[in-house]
């Protein structure tokens, strides 16, 4: 326990030191750029640091040490020249404030993304991984994997285009029910005066619960023999034989209707989030709009259409965009419901197929290309949605 805490503290201290070093570097460059000794002193300091690092941390040859020292001095000299002739101390504070965040984002997002692009144009797979781990070399294959994404599906019985269509349909249906269900519940909660907090807490439980637990619990409820849903359907059919005559009875949810089961579970999971967001939007609408509308004799439908919906748009549009992106990329429900080890292909969407290609069949480069295609699809869809829904515009402007 203590050693784990020490490890965490050590990591935080290292991070703090790195940020302090970065800020010190920037502060020096933003304040001392005008001194005569600035460029040579910076280059000399960089050379000294490079020399110390090369000698202390690696067992390099003299030639390699010299090369590192000269490179560090040259790079720092260029940086110092830029600071003294171009930047000249301008925007020092914003740059110093933004720098740690930008560098963090660069390391956590930009680098992996760049590596993803690199992988997509090369050929890393089961049979080339050994060569890569030993030599760092992967063969360049150009657009081969991108062509394969559209011509050869990662799954056996579903083509890429079917998979794309299914993913778009899955996203639309889920988001539609999230929004309508969330909106309905938010309207109800907004009109309730007593125990609103209790109702809200109860309704948020599926969302607040760890997703794995919630999904596995719901999966059990769809079991053919022992699930709550089929038990209720069986009892209904037993008590009302005319319903049984219409075909009502236990259903093989997981075997025959895997995608429908996943959808029902995901709708149940997603409604609370949308409800909370919309409720926040509804509570921010001033009552005076409704009072004025009531004086003018507006009907409930007119109040909803002309006041409520336009005024919650700034809240709803980003929430729908986020919900759509999350649903499009939601591997958890599909993976946990259809079986962790591969399972049925009937419920697979693009990201679950991507997961199988990468981690079941080790087709890393193909998966990287597929991931970039998925990213492009999402980017275009989100852009179009935000543009046409005018979600980023102010309703009051």
């Amino acid at each position: 326990m203590i050693s784990s805490l020490l490890q965490v503290a050590r990591f935080v201290a290292l991070l703090a030191l790195a940020v302090a070093a970065l800020e010190g570097y920037l502060h020096y460059h933003f304040t001392c750029y005008g001194r005569r000794w600035f460029v040579p002193a910076s280059a000399a300091a960089a050379a000294a640091l490079a020399c110390a690092a090369a000698l202390l941390f690696t067992g390099r040859t003299a030639g390699q040490v010299l090369c590192s020292v000269l490179s560090a001095a040259a790079v720092e000299a260029v940086a110092a020249l830029v600071f003294s002739h171009v930047v000249r101390g301008r925007h020092g504070l914003p740059v110093m404030l933004l720098a740690p965040g930008l560098i963090g984002l660069g390391l956590l997002i930009a680098y992996p993304l760049a590596f993803e692009v690199y992988l997509a144009f090369h050929d890393l797979k089961l049979t080339t991984i050994m060569v890569w781990s030993r030599t760092g070399y992967i063969p360049f294959v150009g657009f081969k994997h991108f062509v394969k994404v559209f011509t050869a599906s990662p799954l056996a019985s579903v083509t890429f285009w079917q998979l794309l269509g299914r993913t778009l349909w899955w996203t639309f249906i889920n988001v539609f029910f999230h929004v309508t269900g969330g909106f309905g519940l938010a309207m109800l909660l907004n009109s309730v005066r007593r125990f609103r907090g209790i109702y809200r807490t109860l309704l948020v439980i599926p969302w607040a619960m760890p997703q794995v637990v919630a999904i596995l619990a719901m999966r059990g409820e769809f079991h053919y023999d022992y699930g709550f849903v089929n038990i209720m359907l069986g009892r209904l059919a037993g008590h009302l034989p005319w319903l049984a005559g219409w075909g009502l009875g236990p259903v093989q949810w997981l075997g025959r209707h895997a995608l429908l089961t996943c959808t029902i579970i995901n709708v149940w999971l997603g409604i609370p989030f949308m409800m909370v967001v919309i409720l926040g939007g509804l509570q921010s609408i001033s009552q005076s709009y409704y009072d004025a509308a009531a004086i003018d004799g507006a009907s409930a439908w007119q109040r909803l259409r002309l006041i409520t919906l336009p005024l919650i748009r700034p809240v709803l549009a980003p929430a729908v965009t986020l919900g759509a992106v999350w649903t499009f990329n939601n591997i958890n429900v599909i993976y946990l419901v259809t079986g962790q080890a591969g399972g049925s292909e009937d419920a697979d969407i693009l990201v679950s197929a991507l997961y199988k290609a990468a981690f079941t069949f080790y087709r890393y480069s193909y998966s990287a290309a597929l991931a970039l295609v998925i990213f492009a699809v999402l980017f275009v869809c989100s852009f179009l949605w935000l543009r046409f829904s005018k979600g980023s515009e102010s309703v009051y402007g």
Binding site: Q252, F359, F361
Partner: protein, 409 residues
């Protein structure tokens, strides 16, 4: 200097001190062994006790062993990542299913020449041998499926499927059992023993052999079990496990890893037996047999390799193999340990050993992954009535071949 300046200096000194401190004295890196395993949590105390005993041996002063537990899939991914990053663990204690991937990727090293593999049961060594090279040292023998029964519901195990069916249609309904047998219907690993009983096997060498009459008959047999209500309509691992533990079924087909858990749950009421002989063909079902293995990182060499070798030999010596059978109810991989009283006097372990004798080694070929993935969805479609047996079997073969081609191209 101002107070603020002093405080800043103090903070910087503190941060430097904290960053410079290390969590433990590093010691000699060649005397520090890192072991990763993905076994059941209940097995950890046993593993730790053997590792601790090794550290106390004369000549092992200063040796430290760090054991890290992972979930099965996590370990596979983490080991790959760590190997690519150049910082893998020294030893893996793992089932053989991912060994093919590790071998092809160059993450583990062959153990031929390092260990005397003739001391171990041949089938368990065969399950980790590919292209003439052996990629791990066996620790347990088994990982195989067998029949568990609840003696309160069925005093004697069925020897044949006819006896099983007679129980299922006769005594089981009288006992109020909805179904009499449970096994993991979604996973083709549970189909394989029946496939073997019809004379088939999913692979011949590296080639999938799914489009066969044996496969058709095995799938038809599953449908028959389901149609007659002997097994639940849908059943995954957790489902079958819960049904058996709650005495809602009399029989379950599960692996040797479950013996100790079921013994704790049912006590003397637990019985272990061979999966009933298929009356139609007169053949025993053929489960896949492998085990748990020590796999050595390909980066191990020199003094560290020698130390790891001693640890593996200690872990798998006769005394520890018998101790393992006693503590974990798992069969030893060491051939000589099979005759120990601990095993011969334990009816459950003896039944497990009998089952192994009719099993076949789990193929180590990486192509098996494609075979499982081709079988799983189509087998599911047949069971849910969405596809005919003939079409499903033909597509299994075609899909497996496609997936293998895609893995390689």
């Amino acid at each position: 200097m101002t107070t603020r300046g002093r405080l800043s200096l103090l903070l910087a000194a503190g941060l430097c001190g904290l960053a410079a401190c290390r969590q433990a004295p590093p010691g000699d890196p060649d005397r520090r062994i890192v072991v990763w395993e993905h076994d059941d949590a209940s097995v950890a105390p046993y593993i730790d006790s053997v590792l601790a005993a090794f550290c106390k041996l004369p000549g092992n002063e200063g040796v430290s062993i760090v054991r890290t537990h992972y979930h099965t899939e996590d370990m596979r991914q983490q080991f790959q990542t760590a190997s690519i990053a150049g910082n893998p663990p020294d030893l893996l204690l793992s089932a053989s299913d991912a060994a093919g991937i590790y071998a092809i990727s160059g993450f583990i090293q062959p153990v031929d020449g390092l260990f005397d593999l003739s001391r171990y049961n041949p089938a368990v060594v065969a399950a980790i041998t590919q292209d003439g090279k052996t990629w791990g040292v066996p620790v347990t023998n088994g990982n195989h499926l067998m029949l568990f029964y609840n003696k309160r519901l069925a005093p004697r195990p069925p020897r044949t499927t006819d006896e099983l069916f007679a129980f299922c249609s006769g005594r089981a309904p009288k006992l109020g059992l909805g179904h009499c047998l449970a096994f993991h219907l979604g996973e083709p690993y549970w189909l394989v023993p029946w496939l073997g009983a019809f004379g088939g096997w999913p692979m011949a060498g590296r080639v999938p052999t799914l489009d066969t009459s044996a496969m058709r008959q095995a799938v038809e047999f599953m449908l028959e079990l389901k149609r007659r209500g002997f097994i639940p309509g849908e059943c995954d691992y957790n489902g079958m496990d819960a049904l058996f533990k709650e005495s809602k079924v009399a029989f379950i087909i599960n692996g040797d890893w479950a013996i100790s858990t079921y013994e704790r749950q049912l006590g003397a009421a637990l019985g272990v037996a061979m999966i009933p002989k298929l009356s139609r063909t007169g053949r025993w079902p053929v489960p896949m047999v492998s085990g748990k293995y020590f796999m050595l990182s390909s980066r191990l060499q020199g003094r560290k390799l020698a130390l790891v070798k001693r640890l593996v030999e200690f872990y798998t010596d006769e005394e520890n193999q018998v101790g393992q059978a006693r503590a974990l109810k798992r069969l030893p991989a060491l051939a000589r340990a099979n005759s120990a009283r601990t095993i011969q006097d334990d009816p459950n372990l003896r039944a497990s050993l009998d089952q192994i004798l009719v099993g076949k080694p789990l193929p180590m070929a990486t192509e098996l992954r494609a075979v499982w993935d081709a079988m799983r969805p189509l087998f599911g479609k047949v069971l849910s009535g969405q596809m005919g047996v003939d079409e499903a079997v033909r597509r299994m073969q075609a899909d497996a071949e496609t997936k293998i081609r895609e893995m390689k191209e």
